[in-house]
Amino acid sequence: MPRAATLRDESVPPDERALIARVLDGDRVAGRQLYEAHAPRVHRLVYRLCGDAELAQDFTQDAFVRAFDQLGNFRGEAAFGTWLHRIAVTVTLNGMRKVRRLRERETPLDDDPGLGTVSHRADPDLRSRIAAAIDALPEGTRLTLIMHDIEGYTHAEIAESLGIAEGTSKSRLFDARGRLRQALAAFVKE
């Protein structure tokens, strides 16, 4: 019997459960279907987090490979998409830390906190100012802002994906918006 038969009923739709069971049996067509159902949203989030097309491609691939490799451990406590997003976020953040360390080693004077983004300091328009302000946010706060205000995830989804309480997600978002308003208030005064 496929291992996915142990999945809980309430979180994973029956069709997705069947797909997961087929992937566990080595069915690559089912793997492709599962991938197509989730890859666009995962790739969007990963790109928003890292801001680099090649890295986004690598991190998305790594996330799916890891998810498929660990599919036997997926028990359906959360939706498959949420579980997958958690893996994608972890892969992306770890990958970005590695890339940042490498870049710091190669160019110690480069203090740009973003990856694959240009410095926004010389460009005074609002969009650039906001981009710079988002890049300057603490990691968890930035992640919550991107997921909620840009990608439209709910606090429940963010909480499950990041392994935090919903209240933490809400307070991080409040913090992020406050910091953005501060940055923009200075811009409006100028």
Binding site: D15, R28, Q33, A39, R44, T60, F64, L126, A131, L184
Partner: protein, 227 residues
């Protein structure tokens, strides 16, 4: 600037933060498939070497059921006879026509009459099946005949993929590879419970413009026949 204006401009600016490019879905899947499942058996890109594909197709055929083996043997025989007759009647091997790679289904401008009828018929049947897909998706209950027809067409697809026509015509090969994936999915649909899967397949078809490409191929190959 009022608070409301500032909020509105902030939301607008947030939407423009690191706007993602279209995801390279096929490219990423190739890498994922290779890393997780091993060498791909069903690929939708055209980057797989022809020799490797032939080996894999051979493996697939060996794994087929006896009933399908008979059908496959019959189709294979007709294709092989067609090739032999075509080559003998023209006296030359199939030629690839340079300079028309993007605009036409090249192989059909050379010596492929024996393949043409079989391929045109196959493409027409596949177009009809895929056109019927949205109705099946609405019902969510593909019947045995629908699934059986997909299996039959899948077998023909794989034979055509291994034929000189696909080897000589990059566009046809890519189309056949896409159809192979779609038909493989359709032929594995569970009877009476495939609504979500059909929906996914329909979405994939639309995303990859499979039906318009199929119709274009039928028109292109048929018009070569008329010339």
């Amino acid at each position: 600037m009022t608070d409301d204006e500032l909020d509105e401009r902030t939301r607008e600016a947030l939407r423009g933060y690191r706007v993602p490019p279209p995801p390279p879905l096929d490219e990423m899947w190739d890498a994922i498939e290779e890393r997780h499942f091993g060498s791909p058996v069903v690929a939708i890109s055209s980057r797989t070497p022809v020799a490797e594909r032939s080996d894999r197709a051979g493996r697939r055929r060996r794994l087929g059921s006896p009933t399908w083996a008979i059908v496959l043997a019959a189709v294979a025989a007709s294709l092989l006879i067609g090739v032999a007759v075509g080559r003998m009647s023209r006296g030359v091997a199939p030629q690839f026509v340079d300079g028309t790679r993007e605009g036409t289904y090249d192989y059909w401008t050379a010596n492929a009459e024996p393949y043409r009828d079989a391929t045109t018929e196959y493409l027409g049947q596949t177009a009809a099946l895929l056109t019927a897909l949205p109705a099946a998706a609405r019902d969510g209950r593909p019947d045995a005949r629908f699934v059986g027809q997909a299996s039959e067409l899948l077998s023909t697809t794989r034979l055509l993929l291994d034929s000189p026509a696909a080897a000589s015509d990059a566009r046809l090969k890519t189309l056949l590879e896409d159809l192979e994936l779609v038909l493989a999915q359709l032929s594995r649909l569970p009877e009476g419970n495939g609504g979500a899967e059909i929906h996914l397949i329909t979405e994939a078809l639309e995303r990859r413009d499979v039906v318009p490409r199929l119709r274009s191929a039928v028109v292109s190959i048929s018009s070569d026949d008329d010339n």
